[in-house]
Symmetry: C2
Subunit: 214 residues, 2 copies
């Protein structure tokens, strides 16, 4: 398998965690987002959305969208499942994952931050406030759920890492980008994050460990 990603991309980071947790071998192709390589003609042929990640499987299938990729990996390589065995459990894990992958991350994605700067003309401070705002809104709700729902365990759902953790870890790393983000209101999120960081397969997926890290 070949993962088209970028060391800093949260969405690629999710897929790296999933691949590592499942013990799957893959090579990485770096698509440098700040250098706009996602708009190169060759990459657009693989993913017309000009976003990472994309995953090549069996040398010819190309998949896009991180959550869809992770579900595909879980279905085609069912050992060490990333989703629970019951519909209700799967629904909870997908819901937590989507609270991040739909309602936090896309609003704070590079292309949106760029639009805030140009054409909208906002300065770095305003963009940083925006960035933190959407994470805070999302984390408020996730913290309330993780701290009150019986299914939370050492990880987001029970005592093994799964799809929700694949999303939570990169989002926390993303929030750490600006020193101004206050993590104090999120003890449960941070407890799960630290537990995840202690898992070698997850630690190996961190941005600074990637071949294209700067």
């Amino acid at each position: 398998m070949k993962l088209y990603g970028f060391f800093r991309s949260s969405a690629a980071f999710r897929v790296r965690i999933a691949l590592n947790l499942k013990g799957l071998d893959y090579e990485q192709a770096s698509i440098h987002l700040r250098k706009n390589q996602q708009f190169g003609a060759d990459y657009l042929k693989l993913n017309p959305q000009a976003l990472v990640p994309a995953l090549e499987d069996h040398g010819h299938l190309v998949l896009s969208q991180s959550l869809a990729i992770i579900e595909y990996l879980d279905e085609t390589r069912p050992k060490l499942p990333l989703l629970p065995s019951t519909p209700l459990g799967r629904s909870r894990v997908r819901s937590l994952a989507q609270m991040i992958a739909c309602d936090i991350h896309p609003i704070d994605n590079l292309r949106v931050l760029r639009y805030l700067a140009d054409p909208l003309g906002h300065d770095e401070k305003t963009v940083e406030t925006w960035f933190n705002h959407w994470i805070r809104l999302g984390f408020d709700a996730i913290e309330r759920r993780l701290s009150s729902e019986a299914d939370t365990g050492r990880f987001c759902h029970g005592d093994a890492p799964g799809l929700a953790d694949c999303c939570l870890v990169p989002q926390v790393v993303n929030a750490q980008r600006h020193k101004s983000f206050d993590f104090a209101p999120y003890p449960t999120i941070m407890r799960v994050f630290e537990t995840c960081r202690g898992v070698p397969a997850i630690a190996a997926a961190f941005p600074e460990k990637q071949p294209d890290a700067e």
Copy 2:
């Protein structure tokens, strides 16, 4: 089942389509987003994210996040499936759905448009340009995929409506909100949309048909 939604909410619209396509009975509870009922204490207990939809099943289970809800419906009521039978097919449909549910809709959601107006101080015209911009970017990629991929049929995937159509239809309706959105570059999207509109179960899910329509 009880669906907490709002006639205008794209995400609730997706779930209404899914429920109707499966022929499931449900009652609706209207959470008026413009009147901020999503922030009411009772609703926050059901969904701390202060977003619709939420779905109550068996009178006590409360699910959130439209895609997670639809997958749950598909798993617990497998008749008339909304996802294909192969992992690769499911991955394609989920990817198309997420191109909308992650990368278009959340950036154009009410709370984001409100933030652009206050605190950022943008006028209606600027907000409308923003709104159309993200739909156009997403539709460009979706049009390219639907028009070039062999799995596209009368609907997004094959000849029966499914999860991707549940997302596409509300997003087209959303784009129609401003007269300024140009649909000319999207003949395949619009062909699928018109086909969907001809399906009574989908037509019945449109905003203007809902009990809380204004």
